[in-house]
């Protein structure tokens, strides 16, 4: 187990440095720089700007500086919980090229909680809806309880979020009658309002994000429940006179959930990191919006910061799931020790 952890950790670090290198090379290769704009900037001013931001150094010096700045130099979990990467890990992404006077660390610390909160709501929606719909379909296989929800799920899987989002906006923002209407944009009301009112602003984005994964979870649950419910031990349990409730919940779901749980890990990571389309549609102040704008603005430091944070989260969640699976499954444990 220990060797497994160490080897995974080393792999993770290697992957992150590799990503940072690729991002660095790609940023330098893309035409247009952070200071190009419609109205031409005089040559002497442009030179001063590039000097200021260290763009005049030879590429290998710039690269070495980048790599040193993003290397963790200390560990303070408490600061990390407040999303402070500088205090927490000693990582300094530097000042944003576009947003004068704002550091990339600040921008990440402000926006990551928004993406995380959105992902959290979406995960709840995905898990609750997905698992219940899937189990129901499995229990009433080949009835309309199975066919209708599964057809809807199929549509859900096929609809990308950038289509589903505007559809939900149209339906809940404009078509439904007044008391059920939801705000179509922003993360919070544009006037001072109680917290519960802000929650209404989060329903549509969380639904858009969650429904897609709910569909996946539903299909997975249905498949795995069908398999489990046909097993001998379920039949035995029934024959022994175990109540139907206990058959499904204690014996069926417990085993049936294993593939779902291993799917939930990556889903949780995707829900936090994969919301940039939704943040753009609903104009939310999350990390994904920074990622898109940073790329469009050639904001080199912000691109590096957002990409690395995304990569780290994805890797971290996969790492946790892998570790859990190894711990749960003796066969995997043996293999990793061999």
């Amino acid at each position: 187990m220990f060797r497994f952890l160490i080897s995974r950790l080393l792999q993770t670090i290697l992957v992150l440095y590799l990503i940072a290198t690729v991002v660095f090379v790609m940023m330098k290769a893309v035409p247009g720089g952070p200071f190009s704009q419609e109205r031409n900037v005089s040559e002497h001013i442009l030179q001063k700007l590039e000097e200021q931001y260290g763009l005049h150094d030879p590429l290998h010096v710039q690269y070495a500086k980048y790599m040193w700045n993003i290397t963790p130099k200390r560990l303070s979990p408490r600061a990390l919980l407040a999303f402070d990467l500088k205090e927490g890990l000693g990582i300094d992404f530097g000042y944003s090229f576009r947003y004068e006077g704002r550091t990339v660390n600040q921008l990440i610390a402000e926006s990551l909680p928004v993406s995380a909160e959105l992902g959290f709501y979406a995960l709840i929606i995905a898990a609750l809806l997905g698992i219940s719909t899937g189990s129901l379909a499995a229990l009433k296989q080949n009835s309309s309880w199975d066919h209708i929800p599964m057809a809807i799920v199929m549509i859900g899987i096929c609809l990308p979020t950038f289509v589903l989002g505007p559809i939900l906006i149209l339906v809940f923002g404009f078509w439904v009658p007044e008391p059920f209407r939801l705000p179509v944009l922003f993360w919070e009301p544009s006037y001072d309002a109680p917290w519960l009112e802000s929650l209404r602003y989060r329903i549509l984005p969380a639904m858009t994000l969650g429904l897609y994964y709910a569909a996946g979870i539903a299909r997975l649950t249905r498949g795995s429940m069908l398999e489990v419910l046909g097993q001998d031990y379920i039949r035995t349990a029934r024959a022994k006179g175990v109540s139907p409730f206990n058959v499904v919940v204690k014996h069926g779901l417990r085993t049936g959930m294993i593939p779902v749980i291993s799917y939930l890990g990556p889903v949780a990571a995707h829900l936090i990191t994969g919301s940039f389309v939704i943040e753009y549609i609903f104009m939310l102040p999350g990390l994904g919006r920074h990622l898109i704008n940073a790329a469009l603005n050639r904001d080199y430091t912000l691109i590096m910061g957002t990409v690395l944070v995304y990569a780290a989260i994805l890797i971290l969640f996969n790492f946790i799931v892998d570790t859990l699976l190894v711990w749960l499954n003796p066969r995997l444990r043996l293999r990793s020790n061999a």
């Binding site: 002497h44 200021q52 296989q141 329903i203 104009m283 102040p285 704008n293």
Partner: protein
Amino acid sequence: MGMTRRHILWSLIPQGILLSLFTLVFSSCTESRTPVEIASAQGMLLLGNGSEPHGLDPHLTTGVPEHNILHAIFEGLIAYHPTDESAPEPGVAESWEHNSDASVWTFHLRHDARWSNGDPVLASDFSYSIRRILSPALGAQYADQLIVLKGAEDFLKGNTTDFATVGVEVVDTHTLRLHLIGPTPHLPGMLKHNAWYPVNPRVIEAFGSIDSRESDWTRPENLVGNGAFRISRWVTNSYLEVLKSDTYWDADRVRIKGIRFFPIEKASTEEAAFRAGQIHYCSNIPIDRIEFYRSKHPEVIRFDDYLGTYFYRFNTTRPPLDQPLVRRALTLAIDTGLIVREVTRGGETPARGFVYDGVSGYHTPGNIAFDPETARRLLAEAGFPEGSGFPKMDILINTQEAHKMIAEAIQQMWRDHLGIDVGIVNQEWKVYLDNQVNLRYSISRSGWIGDYVDPITFLMIWTSDSGNNQTGWSNHRYDELYKQVLVTGDPGLRNALMGEMESIFLDELPVAPIYWYTRKYLLHPDVKNWHPKLLDYHPFKFIQLEPTGFRL
């Protein structure tokens, strides 16, 4: 597999939980008014404002969204007039005068002008601010605006570090004199730009030095301004809020409580926000929604004249575009009337010349109009009868629906009227800019918005050494005339010289003028005193909010 009703009920529990959560949230909301209705009642103006502001340092920012916020929280010597873009409205200067040829200007600052921290606004603050933006190490992108000041160019380029050589004179605490390189009758118009705004020297020095770019002084808790509003909250990518400032000298006239600026990049999203009652002002309308508002809600849609020209650049270094005959043929084959009627549909005017017509008594000498007969003849004269032998080339556009529609219309017109085939290449914004600057294009769509209300802001971009030229075109006589304009104080003579410049330009046509802009936007009827302005800057201190209960 006999499943009882209980199973089904059990598996419905999670859905039940979700449903009851939603119900809780819905029922908690007894508020049936839209955000706009609530805001109108509170006196808060909600504005769609393009993109997230780069920053709030008036000497570093360059964009329109930033300027919209800056003119609320800062005030220059001259301010914006509520209705007339060319009229100078007294700002920090309560009066001013100039010498006979308008090359030396004296400004008398009002004694009750204050910074938001209570400091008086002094002539020395302006002098410090001019020194700051001209400091080479600051790298201010708009510092070029100030080279009308004597000695400013040398100071900016680092040829001298002695600020005393720059034509800024602090006569006494409340009198400032500016010495210019030549007669500049349009100086008051230039002073409205944020490059000329004052900053508080005490605050700048407290958070860094005069030329530090990376400083925390513009963070909302630190920022000190001198405008009608002061910043109160700034949530990145969410909104920026300003509230009425008590220290402002004219605070009694400010009618609204505050403004929230929302960064909304996409026109379709902004329009949805307006329709849902989340903003008072939608700065952009998708072309496909114009008809809807025109026919169903004419009371909210506005088309205001806007000081800008939409045009196509020709790369005059690439044959056959190096031949004026070819460029004229291409230009005359564009049915600009049809484009504004059927494609852009925002009440734009087909451009007869390049300079926006009727600015400061100047009228364009141009009479460019759709003329397919002449276009065909000119193309034949250039050696391409009926378009035969004309090389394949592309129109370069940056990715945006409206540009694409216009390019497709022009592509069709050139095919129909000239028999030539061009392609359309769309590129992401920064890639497009890069290719245009480096002349890696044949024909490129462009636009130019005037910096201030004077024809020179359209003509100065085509001189040989202008960084904004980007066509490879140069004309010696044109450059000579430009230098003469800079030293001419007499308005009549000046206009005549500029007319000659434009005539040369239109003879050679390094660009094809297409239309003069309009600003298309949506404005909620609650907003009063919002007048058409040629540069689209609406001084917020005059705006009023009156709840009308209007809903779309």
